[in-house]
């Protein structure tokens, strides 16, 4: 599913990266914890989050996230937007809650990211 369609489904405002809305998104993950993102993150995924500081943009860069949607009406701070512009990461904002945002995308057939090693802590041996 293209980012443009996702923006439509979530009634999201595109904050930056409007020239990259033709990016194809294979899967979605939702988290307010950075390390969880790095744990289950999948290259090219869309991230739904309520975190608004630049740290989440850096983490997204590390995890090869393709775009971020800030949920429940939250807005990223200026540093986060500037960093996203610098690295070319599209940011969008939706007034819908995390739960509703996930539900809307899931209902349209967009799958969740598959955790590496299953739903548990993974293989840490």
């Amino acid at each position: 599913m293209h980012l443009a369609e996702i923006a439509e489904i979530l009634e999201a405002q595109v904050l930056t990266g409007g020239d990259r809305l033709n990016v194809e998104i294979p899967a979605v993950g939702a988290s307010d914890m950075v390390s969880d993102l790095l744990f289950f993150g999948h290259p090219g995924m869309l991230l739904l989050t309520g975190l608004t500081k630049s740290s989440v943009v850096r983490a997204a860069q590390v995890a090869d996230v393709a775009a971020i949607v800030f949920v429940r009406g939250k807005r990223p701070d200026r540093d986060a937007v500037e960093l996203a512009q610098e690295i070319g990461l599209p940011l969008m904002a939706s007034a819908h809650s995390m739960y509703d945002s996930c539900g809307r995308l899931y209902a349209r057939g967009l799958p969740g990211v598959i955790p590496a090693g299953g739903a548990g802590a993974g293989d840490v041996s």
Binding site: D32, M33, V34, S35, D36, L38, F39, G41, P43, T49, L51, K53, S54, S55, V56, R58, A59, Q61, V62, A63, D64, D79, I87, A116, G117, A121, G122, D123, V124
Partner: protein, 153 residues
């Protein structure tokens, strides 16, 4: 902690404890720098995630520290050493979900208690040692993994 002069990539990054604003910058530079080498993407991804977690642990818990990254052929070594409180119980710290991060760190989305777990999962060799009131040292080695082996990241 002197980087190997003959390595095809060797850098040391100073990390400031409490420097949340800059946090992740060293890992970003590692990603760019190593990205110029002909490394398999899955290897690069694991190195960058583990380096980021190591960097965040220094920012969250230590006074200061440094991260050295070196690469030769397709083998990457990351050493993170800090001056800080040390870890009283390493076994407990390695339990997924266990965290002693501050409220400030948690408010920024850190403190999931998955940092060391992520490092250990990403690395092919993982060693950690710590001394109370002195600091902590993590050494990680990475090699290419065959497709489908162990973990997909």
């Amino acid at each position: 902690m002197t980087p190997d002069p003959e390595a095809s990539f060797a850098r040391t990054y100073p990390i400031l404890g409490g420097g949340f604003f800059l946090a992740g910058r060293a890992s970003g530079e590692v990603k760019r720098g190593l990205g110029e080498l002909p490394l398999p993407p899955e290897l690069l991804r694991r190195v960058v995630i583990a380096t980021y977690e190591a960097e965040m642990n220094i920012v969250i818990h230590a006074i200061s520290g440094e991260i050295s990254v070196s690469a030769r052929d397709a083998c990457v070594t990351v050493i993170a050493a800090d001056r800080g409180p040390g870890i009283p119980n390493i076994e407990q710290a390695l339990v997924p979900g266990y965290s002693t991060a501050s409220d400030k760190a948690r408010s920024l989305g850190f403190g999931a208690g998955m940092g060391l777990t992520n490092m250990r999962r990403c690395a092919d060799e993982f060693r950690i040692s710590s001394e109370l009131e002195r600091g902590t040292r993590v050494e990680m080695h990475f090699r290419p993994r065959s497709p489908g082996a162990k973990e997909k990241l």
